[in-house]
Symmetry: C2
Subunit: 369 residues, 2 copies
């Protein structure tokens, strides 16, 4: 069996350190890898229908355990999926010493991780993210949760996996659009803590998995995870520094919510958010013209994203003010600087509206700055 471990990080957490292993072909040696890293086996695999057909059924067969396929859409990231997982684990006889494997994108890892957090008051789980977004973002930091009708991720837990297992070869089957959206988080990460990441992005005009060797993808993923890991290690429960990770997310979350999560992939909404944050920062002289151009160029090279020209700025603002990460007054924005980010707790609403309208009127698309 061809597989190679390319890198390994150790992430500190209140529950104890856990490892992130990044490599090629790791899914073909799941049992061995989990045993080697954490000295145990997985007793159940949970995934969604798409990933189930691609990798899940083979993974469960290899592990010799049951497979649960969740529907996989954002509306299904809700309590009934958590209850279904728990009931199935009960039926399969999993006790509090069991471990489960979550295989899929962020919806799967968030939902399954939360179910692991509450089943019998908490069992171990292994995260095996299969989307670029989940690899660089959702799988590290310990956040799990599901949505309420009122909004996303409103119930959940900080419950880190005992192991994160990233097989970059799963990116082969990821739609290009999702690959590009995931790279928007890599641009965000570059700004927060590793400027060299900008030089590791795929070539403009060919943002596809085959455009770079698998090891280059490994390096990109590892560097993104390292930045996030350093931040969450200092601030696991999101008291302060972790706010930096919200760069691009104030507008991003609002765009997603205002369109009912039907128009933008998360990373696409973050791409708009990065542009808006860049412009607000430039207006405030927080960002030099040169660095502003770097940011715009990095976002633009990821290719086109769905437009915002038809959206009502007031509706977007309403969703922004309800963002649970806002401070007590004003709208909190993480803004890029030449050397990182700053948090501005009170960005004036009229300034935000002006930025939105600027991009609406200019007919701007991230692909054509």
């Amino acid at each position: 069996v061809y597989h190679a471990l390319v890198d390994r990080l150790s992430i500190p957490s209140a529950r104890g350190d856990y490892a992130v292993v990044v490599g090629r072909g790791l899914l073909s040696a799941l049992d061995e890898t989990i045993d080697r890293e954490v000295g145990r086996r997985a007793h159940s695999v949970a995934t969604d229908r798409t990933v189930g057909a691609l990798y899940g059924r083979r993974a469960a067969a290899g592990l010799g355990c049951g497979l649960i396929e969740l529907p996989g859409g954002e509306p299904d990231k809700a309590w009934p999926a958590v209850e279904r997982l728990c009931q199935r684990w009960l039926a399969d006889g999993l006790d509090r010493r069991a471990a489960v494997l979550a295989l899929g994108g962020g919806i799967v890892t968030d939902t399954v991780g939360f179910a692991a957090a509450v089943y019998l008051r908490g069992i171990d789980w292994v995260a095996a993210p299969t989307t670029l977004l989940a690899m660089v973002d959702a799988s590290v930091g310990g956040k799990t949760g599901v949505n309420l009708p009122e909004g996303k991720n409103l119930v959940g837990a900080f419950w880190p996996p005992c192991l994160v297992l990233v097989d970059v070869e799963t990116l082969q089957t990821l739609p290009d659009r999702e690959l590009r959206a995931g790279l928007a988080e890599a641009v965000k990460t570059a700004w927060i803590g590793d400027n060299e990441l900008l030089g590791l992005l795929p070539p403009a005009g060919d943002v596809t998995f085959p455009s770079m060797p698998a090891d280059a993808w490994c390096e990109l993923v590892v560097r993104c995870i390292r930045v996030k890991a350093d931040i969450v290690a200092d601030d696991e429960r999101e008291a302060g520094a972790r706010a930096a990770l919200n760069l691009g997310h104030t507008l991003g979350h609002a765009l997603e919510a205002a369109t009912g999560y039907g128009r933008f992939l998360h990373g696409e909404a973050v791409a708009w958010g990065l542009l808006a944050a860049g412009r607000l920062a430039r207006e405030r002289q927080l960002l030099s013209a040169g660095r502003h151009a770097d940011l715009v160029e990095a976002v633009a090279r990821l290719g086109p994203v769905p437009g915002i020209a038809d959206m009502d700025p007031d509706l977007i603002i309403r969703h922004m003010v309800h963002d649970k990460k806002k401070g007590a007054a004003g709208i909190g924005w993480v803004l890029p600087t030449d050397r990182g980010v700053v948090l501005d707790q009170h960005v004036d609403i009229t300034d935000v509206v002006a930025v939105i309208q600027h991009y609406q009127e200019a007919g701007f698309s991230p692909s054509h700055p």
Copy 2:
């Protein structure tokens, strides 16, 4: 306002130490007590309908915050109640810095504590238990959770409150039957770690709140909490020593489940469980005749509990084997010894059936040993 703090314990936990304050009339000075102990205020009160009418409405009015009244029965200790709490807290604008007050018995504190554990991935909560059982058991140790159709407490979290506030005067309005059932846990606690507790029980034949001064109830509650606190401090996540707390619970849980939670109060089922564990221990020469008599006498003086003569021993056993605290094989029982307890992981089923049949055939009732 008349109120007095009688004792104060500090309980270590992975989330940080928290205080248990025990006194008379503390509910009449809620705002002041919470502020003095944890330097904050409660932003919402959650209770059940019974306790709401007795204390909850006044408490919420005094705190100047909203009141949520849950139905309060065991069937309502389920996810819909958690979701309702979260949705109400959202509507009331509670953010992740908020704290909520859970006022009531174990069903309320388990449900509200779990909602606090998952709302925005965890907010602070204050437990104000109003039943003896919740005071001596549910409020300390950090276990929160709700039931699934498959069984009790199958989803939950270890999420200790930031403060436990015990006003023993609420026992004035507790039905005598619940008071007596709560004392069964005190007998259990005596055996686990504080034999002098047996001398602090109310007089046989008058097991009522007025039979002892309020300060005597405070002492009884404080000593029970101290034993539990010492055990959970060593073993917060229930790896080993915490199993001692299950004395009387192997049969107790099975009796409750086999009768659909409709016949026994939890403490009443534990009373039967203590008697059965005592007899099994005596048969195994773990317990001297004198200490066995002490145990039987202590349980008996609490007064009559519903009988088991009509129950099918096989059905009871089936519920025992499904008890999630069982080991991999055999039936695990915590058995009393002359100096404490031991865990026997493999009690033979025929021995358990024989003990059940003994009490069925003898027409035994705990009140008439």
